[in-house]
């Protein structure tokens, strides 16, 4: 009985030391804000890059055999080549390494870590989003494309008004999943001294020399966020399924 009480008092003490004293909980709060900012901005960049890359890739795959040889097909082949290199390099190297290359080499002159992090994670996410969106574009029935063209829409208009909206609707749940993955991946932002959620917990650990509380707290916050967003994705999926019928 006495042992239990001692244990409980120990936990209380730990809690006070790690989170209450010196307002240490603010490291977690500020870190959480950084993590969410980073994830949201990066996913937006990722979607823009991803849609563009997906359009280039699927345009190439669908049309290159039927195109007349000339400047147009040459440009398309070149763009497709660039897109493939981008996909291979980004998906073939660790995101931490990309982040550090961006921070220490490519954008070494930038003073905003948030900007550097957003760009690095955005470019990384774009590669994964591109393949998701491409699968969505390829899944839209070819007849939709022909119907658009037969009305007089040009290629880009057909993509914009008819194909992309349908493709995005199909892959929306998968895209939302990509957001959840990214949320966890940003935990390596501490490598460029960004004070995100993970780094916030680590700072507390460094100050109090007690690893349990801060690290479990960080893990718990990630878990809660992931569960919340997963719940939203599932609801979204159900909604989309119902509207299809």
């Amino acid at each position: 009985m006495e042992g239990l009480q001692l244990w409980w008092e120990g936990i209380q003490k730990q809690f006070v030391m790690n989170f209450i004293a010196d307002d240490r909980w603010k490291y977690l709060r500020d870190g959480l804000v950084v993590t969410l900012q980073l994830t949201f901005c990066a996913v937006l960049i990722g979607i823009v890059i991803g849609v563009v890359i997906a359009m280039i890739r699927s345009t190439h795959d669908k049309n290159i055999n039927e195109m007349h040889k000339g400047l147009g097909s040459l440009i398309l082949k070149f763009l497709n080549f660039i897109a493939k290199v981008y996909l291979t390099v980004i998906r073939g190297t660790p995101v931490v390494v990309q982040l550090m290359i961006m921070y220490y080499i490519i954008l070494a002159s930038s003073s905003s870590k948030l900007l550097v992090g957003t760009i690095a994670f955005g470019i990384n996410s774009g590669a994964y989003v591109a393949e998701i969106v491409r699968s969505g574009i390829m899944s839209v029935d070819q007849g939709q494309f022909e119907a658009g063209r037969s009305l007089g829409f040009n290629y880009v208009q057909t993509m914009r008004y008819i194909i992309i909206p349908q493709a995005l609707k199909t892959v929306l749940p998968t895209l939302a999943n990509e957001f959840i993955v990214l949320l966890k991946e940003t935990s390596v932002a501490g490598y460029i001294a960004m004070q995100d959620l993970t780094k916030g917990g680590d700072i507390i650990r460094g100050a109090t020399f007690s690893p349990y509380m801060p690290l479990f707290a960080v893990a718990l916050i990630y878990l809660a966020m992931v569960m919340f967003f997963t719940f939203l994705v599932n609801r979204l999926e159900r909604r989309l399924r119902n509207s299809e019928r």
Binding site: A147, R149, S150, L151, G152, Y161, I162, Q166
Partner: protein
């Protein structure tokens, strides 16, 4: 353009695959005049759909020329998008846009391509919907319609662009039998209003009743061409005779 000149003139049209090993179209020549209803019949694999899809370059021919309103649309310098706006097309599988309401399906092209205001486009769409008896479905989505309704919508969607010619690619082949009639009825109506039509179909009754000219194709060639009377009651070639023996 004078009234007697052909609306569409096809010269030695060819579509080859595998560098000429497969000849889906092998030298088609024909003229389609304003107000004509040309019905294309033939066994499956005869190239009739390919022929139709070449007329608006959904299928790019490998040889020959197509003149539409006097312009060679097979010329690489021609902007085909402009000419496609004047050629409506109806597909076997309807191809309505599932993410748009019926009204939006019909108004998007006139608004984006002809610069019509939403009010103008809506007014025209509604009057066309009334003509096919579907005005109460304007705000429904395609998935809520029956096959016959979808195809009637597909026809009026094409009509919204006020085309010079309508191309029909087996418009009733994907329909349940009891829905074929309602679609054919709309097409008959259209023919009565002097719309120029090219129709690929297996509906011999329609060909006979509505067609001004019937074209019989086999193996990528036009084997016989004539009035419905000539084709159906006095077939000359053996190919046509054996085809008609099977379908009639």
């Amino acid at each position: 353009m004078s009234g007697n000149e052909a609306l569409i003139r096809v010269e030695n049209l060819q579509k080859h695959y595998n560098k000429g090993v497969i000849k889906a179209l092998d030298g088609i020549n024909t003229e389609i005049k304003k107000g004509e209803v040309v019905v294309v019949i033939g066994p499956s694999g005869s190239g009739k759909s390919t022929f139709l899809r070449c007329l608006n370059l959904l299928e790019v021919p490998t040889g020959g020329h197509i003149f539409f309103e006097g312009v060679d649309i097979t010329d690489a310098k021609t902007d085909i998008n402009v000419h496609r706006q004047r050629m409506g097309m109806v597909f076997q599988h309807f191809n309505l846009f599932p993410h748009m309401t019926i009204l939006k399906n019909m108004t998007i092209a006139p608004m984006k391509l002809q610069g019509k205001s939403e009010a103008e486009a809506t007014e025209m769409a509604m009057s066309l919907l009334r003509r096919v008896g579907l005005e109460d479905r304007a705000n429904a989505y395609p998935s809520q319609l029956s096959g016959g309704q979808k195809q009637r919508i597909a026809i009026v969607r094409a009509l919204c662009m006020q085309p010079e010619v309508m191309l029909f690619d087996e418009p009733t082949s994907a329909l349940d039998p009891e829905m074929v009639g309602e679609v054919l009825e709309v097409m008959k109506q259209l023919a009565k209003e002097n719309m120029t039509m090219v129709v690929v179909t297996h509906e011999m009754g329609f060909a006979r009743e509505v067609g001004t000219r019937v074209m019989f194709m086999a193996d990528g060639k036009q084997v016989e061409e004539g009035t419905p009377e000539e084709i159906f009651t006095d077939p000359k070639s053996e190919r046509l005779q054996s085809f008609l023996a099977k379908v009639l």
